[in-house]
């Protein structure tokens, strides 16, 4: 009965794959009080599911989602591609330069190249492998899975032969033969039983590829098995003159990682050149700029969601993949939960107000009814003092949204100079309240500015007025050159928005005029004492800066409203954090425990569904066991546990109802006929199986040598 007598449990454990992620839960160190230690009951209070509004048209939301998401996806793809192109071009240039260098030193003929012995060269320097280190700048490698495939495609299109290897190919199990096999399969497009470098050499010369470099891309060097990678590099080095192989290594962290992996002789053979991909923050800004601000395609995220995502990005995940996933989930949730979301399609298709007018769906009864319920529309109509005309409200929404995003972009142009990220600005702009903004003038006190800077340094701290205030503050510090550049950018950004565009142009012309004037003055005064010139220069500069700043402020005062005051903002801005949170992160550990306790809800068998909460022998055994565990504390006495399990199993349901409360005496159990039908051995087998299952789900830990008759509970806290 003691677990040491369970022979079948231990082998099943040892055979499990070691790659399996540990899935056990652990105590939270401080937060929970020991009062609940003796007895932990789990109360399941399912959240009221808000099965939301009925649908007007079954396919409509789905189509809307498909349209929206395919748009967004293609935009994101393009953005990321554009971000990488400069780096890729750099690598391509370097590859061809290195290839020329290899070829310049020596071009072996076919027979020499395929012979096994190395070509002795007169130069004392051993041949080096040209190696590009591509820093992905992120510890997490999820974002860069496609990057390396893209790089391969890019190089291939520029006349290189490319093989993409990953760390899986460099495993200790397969050794250097494994990675060589993948390499040959990708180059030769044929499976080779006994992979060897000479095969590559003879293929290279047989196919007359003389003028093409061979590129080997390894995605994530840190994860490779170091000895295999070392062997691989040493082997390549023996052949590098015969076969012009060039390595591209993706490095997630820093150069030190490579040094830790490779032995000195392997390092010696690499001639290294470094390339940097954009940081995750840069990519994030680019995605936000194009998806949420530039495209103005309708769907957007509200302040709660954006703050949540920002926090999650800075604190927990730090990958763009998750952000994109979140965008997708929120798009879907918005489309399916908001009945009016079909309007988004119209906004995307840019048919303008006429299109909106002409659409039948808009005028249908339920749509209007739903629209009337939206508080923002009611407010809008009240202020306008006219009856509800929600088509005009829609166009107003579109206009205001456009204004809003272009102003955020303008501000970002300013903030860019001092490395304020768009993510921060965006989140803050969403939260901005008009009264806050008015207080936040250029004459922001110096002290406030200092605190804002200080707060910025502490990671992930979002301050009211922090970033926006700083951006405004910056406007005062710019030189004339920088101001000119900013104005040029503004001019580009505000194209199509009549209200701002005109004023920007005006400001621009004023600027150039004054600049000319200034230069003229400077030339005149160049011979006079410098102090005076400087002063004049300074004053004129500051007036210019002031002008620009006050312009931006007036624009803000005029056009920026809180999101809540924009009519129909509910359609565009998704702001349900809780839903997104559960969808995005989920809680698998909680789910496992909850489902174990409520197995009858899923099994839906006839016997258990009638009596809820009471243990019946016909229930799933693991579920019975786990329910019984709830009676215990941290440590579960196996013997007791087994007996209570046996009691439940062997008692008929009617009796068990009575008996469970008082611990059933063994004599009574013996009397019951059920007990005889099930032998002790089979019950014990069931018991062992259930224990193992609980262990596999990470809820239990097997007895240790110190306490052989106790198992330890590892998963707590629902």
């Amino acid at each position: 009965m003691a677990p040491s007598a369970d022979p079948e449990t231990s082998p099943s454990i040892s055979t499990t794959n070691s790659d399996l992620q540990p899935f056990f839960l652990l105590h939270k160190a401080a937060s929970r009080k020991p009062s609940s230690k003796t007895r932990r009951r789990i109360d399941l209070s399912p959240k009221p599911s808000d099965a939301s509004a009925q649908e007007y048209n079954d396919n409509l939301p789905f189509d809307t989602f498909k349209l929206l998401w395919s748009n967004t996806q293609s935009i994101i793809k393009d953005v990321l591609k554009n971000l990488n192109t400069t780096v890729f071009d750099g690598i391509d240039k370097w590859v061809h330069a290195s290839f020329d260098a290899i070829r310049a030193s020596r071009t072996p003929d076919f027979t020499t190249a395929t012979s096994m012995y190395p070509i002795p060269n007169n130069v004392p320097i051993g041949a080096q492998i040209f190696t590009a280190l591509l820093f992905t700048k992120n510890v997490e490698s999820v974002d860069d899975i496609s990057t390396f495939a893209d790089l391969g495609a890019h190089l291939r299109s520029n006349g290189c032969l490319v093989a993409n290897l990953t760390s899986i190919d460099f495993s200790a199990k397969n050794g250097v033969g494994g990675c060589l096999k993948t390499l040959l399969r990708q180059f030769l497009l044929a499976g080779i039983d006994a992979p060897e470098m000479s095969i590559l050499a003879s293929w290279y010369y047989e196919q007359e590829n003389y003028d093409k470099p061979l590129i080997v891309i390894i995605d994530d060097v840190e994860r490779c098995n170091s000895s295999v990678l070392n062997d691989f590099i040493l082997m390549l080095r023996e052949w590098v003159i015969k076969v012009p192989i060039i390595l591209v290594l993706g490095v997630a962290t820093s150069v030190d990682a490579l040094r830790n992996i490779l032995c000195s002789s392997a390092c010696l053979y690499l001639s290294v050149c470094e390339f940097n991909l954009g940081t995750p923050a840069e990519r994030m800004d680019a995605v936000i700029e194009t998806v949420l601000l530039r495209s103005c395609q309708g769907f957007n995220i509200g302040k709660h969601v954006s703050a949540f995502l920002r926090n999650y990005f800075l604190r927990h995940d730090g990958t763009l993949t998750l952000f994109v996933k979140a965008l997708r989930i929120s798009t879907a949730q918005q489309v399916f939960s908001e009945p009016l979301s079909f309007v988004l399609r119209k906004l995307v298709n840019e048919e303008g107000t006429e299109g909106l007018n002409g659409d039948n769906n808009l005028l249908r009864e339920p749509a209007i009814k739903r629209a009337l319920e939206l508080p923002s529309l009611q407010r809008f109509c009240e202020t306008r003092g006219n009856c509800i005309d929600w088509v005009s409200a829609l166009s107003e929404l579109k206009r205001l949204h456009q204004l809003w995003s272009s102003l955020v972009m303008c501000l970002y142009e300013v903030g860019r100079y001092r490395k304020i990220s768009l993510l921060d600005l965006y989140c803050e702009m969403l939260k901005l309240k008009p009264q806050n903004f008015c207080a936040n003038d250029l004459n922001l006190v110096e002290k406030d500015y200092a605190t804002a800077v200080h707060n910025y340094q502490s990671p992930g701290c979002l301050q009211d007025n922090g970033y926006v205030g700083r951006a405004f503050q910056m406007l005062g510090d710019f030189s004339a050159m920088e101001l000119c550049k900013i104005l040029d950018r503004w001019e580009m950004l505000t194209r199509g928005i009549a209200e701002i565009h005109e004023k920007v142009k005006e400001l621009q012309s004023q600027m150039t005029l004054e600049e000319k004037q200034l230069r003229h003055d400077l030339r005149k005064e160049s011979k006079k004492p410098t102090a005076r010139t400087y002063k004049k220069d300074w004053t004129s500069k500051s007036t210019l800066n002031e002008k620009v700043a006050s312009f931006l402020q007036s624009m803000f005062r005029e056009y920026i409203q809180t999101i809540e005051s924009i009519p129909l903002h509910e359609i565009i801005f998704f702001d349900n954090v809780d839903n997104l949170h559960t969808a995005l992160i989920g809680d698998p550990r909680r789910r496992i425990q909850a489902d174990l306790l409520e197995s009858r809800k899923f099994l839906k068998c006839s016997c258990c569904s009638k009596n809820d909460g009471v243990l019946v022998p016909s229930m799933h055994h693991t579920s019975i066991m786990y329910t019984l565990v709830q009676e215990h504390g941290d440590l579960v006495n196996v013997h007791e546990w087994f007996h209570s399990f046996m009691a439940v199993i062997s008692n008929p349901p009617l009796q068990s109802k009575k008996k469970l409360r008082m611990s059933p005496s063994p004599k009574k159990r013996k009397d019951s006929k059920e007990a005889r039908t099930k032998t002790d051995a089979s019950i014990q087998a069931e018991f062992c199986r259930a224990v193992t299952e609980l262990q596999i789900t990470g809820l239990l830990r097997m007895p240790t040598k110190r306490r052989p008759d106790y198992v330890q509970r590892v998963g707590f806290g629902l």
Binding site: L26, I125, N138, D193, M197, S202, K303, F313, H316
Partner: protein, 530 residues
């Protein structure tokens, strides 16, 4: 001995010079013969390219005269049998090149196998057989070997057959006055790697035994290894190969080696005068030295307008003062981590030019890590460095004062004992820790540091506090796995279900300090200093 040697050598040179005349046509021939479909002949087993005479051979390997003469003597005149040779010496001392050039000089058929490229017994066997059978892997043959050969016994049989056939054809050629003779040589390079292939050393003893197993006097065996014969577990009952030792180069040898093929010998010589002596004390490997020298020489030439001019004394002095800071820097790097040459160029640039400024840029970690991953990294580092018994005192609410008390106690002990302990811990390296300890420390330091989810949520008053709180637990395990894959933390290979997996932080202190600085986390307060 010396008397014997000289006539032989002269004989050899004459033959070599004789041989060189018919072979001078070879280059034109093989430029025509690049057609891949041409079948291989015995000629392909001979070293391709222009033949050289003994003087050229000796001249092209400075400091290797004695070894070359010894080898040539062992190989003997044409058609003379030889005992197996074991050529050994440190890395980059010219073993392989010397042996290959010797065959270039002798013009005899040989078969070369590097145990780096042939990374497993079967590949080694097949590669040898392919060469002997004059088989070429090509597309039409599906890149297959001539013979599949997995087991050593098969290999010995096939090798015997193939060699007899080859030697027969060589003998047949002899009658047609072919210059190659009837000897075939097998060269095994990087033999030290074979020891790692199998634990039982069966392959090593097989290779050493080949001479007696084959019983073909026309086969010569040459083993090249970086380590001496003693390190190979010698089995009984085979002819021990005769060792030929390649000693490390002397400073003069290195000077000669580096001076060969220089565009501007005077300039390079003055450069070598500066760098060779200090570097010679650190490493004698030609490849290491040359990688160290090439960026330094570029630096050296920087102030010069043209690289052809011969520098005068004045110029030399100027160049020396220009180069000096870089020499000490790169010396240090070579000395501390042997893998440093990898980035010498970069580091040179970085550290030399950023010295005057504040080292701010070096303080930043140049890759993205989420805040909680940073905290996790710090806690893993602490768990690895601090003894587990001190956790309670370090992370107690009264942590700081308790810590100081402990320290005073330690300092009261005798210094000798303390040093011994220090040494022991240094030798042991970072310790392992279970997941629970890591999580406990993580919990402690996150609650102490400014990083506290609840705090900020109170500030913002907008985020659902419970939402992000419950998510944090599952995140930590995810982040742990991503730190593991980034090679910051290693995982002990025990069963994950048992929960007794032990972790070890292998990240360097510099990186952790940078991370801590970016979080403004007082790392030194929590680090137990012995």
């Amino acid at each position: 001995m010396a008397k014997d040697e000289s006539p032989q050598v002269s004989r050899r040179t004459t033959r070599a010079s004789l041989n060189s005349t018919p072979n001078s046509k070879a280059p034109q021939e093989h430029s025509k013969a690049t057609n891949p479909s041409r079948p291989l002949t015995i000629k392909d087993l001979v070293f391709r390219g222009k033949s050289i005479n003994l003087d050229e051979l000796i001249n092209s390997f400075p400091g290797r005269r004695a070894q070359i003469l010894e080898l040539v003597q062992f190989l003997g005149p044409l058609n003379s049998p030889m005992i197996p040779l074991f050529v050994y010496g440190g890395a980059s001392t010219g073993k392989t090149s010397t042996v290959l050039y010797m065959f270039r000089h002798l013009k005899r058929p040989f078969i070369y196998c590097s145990c780096v490229s042939c990374y497993s017994p079967s590949i080694l066997f097949e590669s040898i057989l392919n060469q002997i059978l004059l088989h070429r892997k090509n597309e039409s043959g599906g890149y297959l070997s001539a013979k599949r050969c997995e087991r050593p016994s098969d290999f010995v049989n096939s090798l015997g057959e193939a060699l007899t056939a080859l030697i027969d054809s060589l003998k047949g050629n002899m009658r047609k006055s072919s210059p190659y003779g009837r000897m075939v040589y097998l060269v095994f390079d990087h033999l030290e790697l074979v020891r790692q292939w199998d634990k039982s050393d069966s392959i090593i003893s097989l290779l050493f035994n080949l001479y007696t197993l084959l019983k073909i006097p026309e086969v010569g065996l040459i083993f090249i290894s970086r380590v001496s014969l003693d390190t190979f577990q010698s089995d009984t009952g085979f002819v021990e190969p005769f060792p030929v030792y390649f000693p490390d180069y002397t400073e003069d040898d290195l000077h000669q080696i580096f001076m060969s093929n220089q565009a501007n010998p005077k300039l390079y010589s003055s450069f070598l005068d500066l760098v060779l002596r200090p570097f010679y004390r650190i490493t004698r490997r030609v490849d290491e030295l040359s990688t160290a020298f090439s960026p330094l020489f570029k630096k050296y030439c920087e102030p010069l307008g043209d690289l052809v001019a011969v520098p005068n004394e004045d110029m030399k002095r100027k160049l020396f003062s220009h180069l000096q800071p870089f020499i000490s820097l790169s010396l240090n790097e070579t000395f501390t981590i042997s893998s440093q040459p990898l980035l010498k160029d970069r580091n040179l640039r970085k550290s030399v030019f950023k010295k005057p400024g504040v080292c701010e840029t070096l303080d930043e970690i140049d890759f993205h890590m989420s805040t909680s991953a940073k905290y996790l990294l710090i806690s893993a580092f602490l768990a690895s460095r601090n003894p587990a018994t001190l956790d309670a005192s370090l992370f107690d609410s009264t942590g700081g004062t308790d810590n100081r008390k402990k320290k005073r106690k330690v300092s009261e002990k005798s210094i000798d004992q303390k040093e011994a302990k220090e040494q022991e811990i240094l030798m042991k390296g970072p310790g392992t820790f279970p997941l629970e300890r890591l999580l406990a420390i993580h919990q402690c330091i996150t609650s102490v540091g400014e990083y506290s989810l609840d705090d900020e949520e109170l500030q913002n008053g907008e985020l659902g506090a419970d939402g992000s709180d419950s998510g944090s637990m599952s995140d930590i395990l995810l982040q742990l796995s991503s730190l593991c894959s980034a090679n910051f933390i290693t995982k002990g290979g025990s069963c994950p279900l048992e929960g007794s997996t032990r972790y070890r932080s292998i990240v360097s202190e510099d990186v952790v300090l940078k991370v801590a600085r970016s979080l403004k986390f007082p790392l030194s307060k929590y680090l137990y200093r012995r």
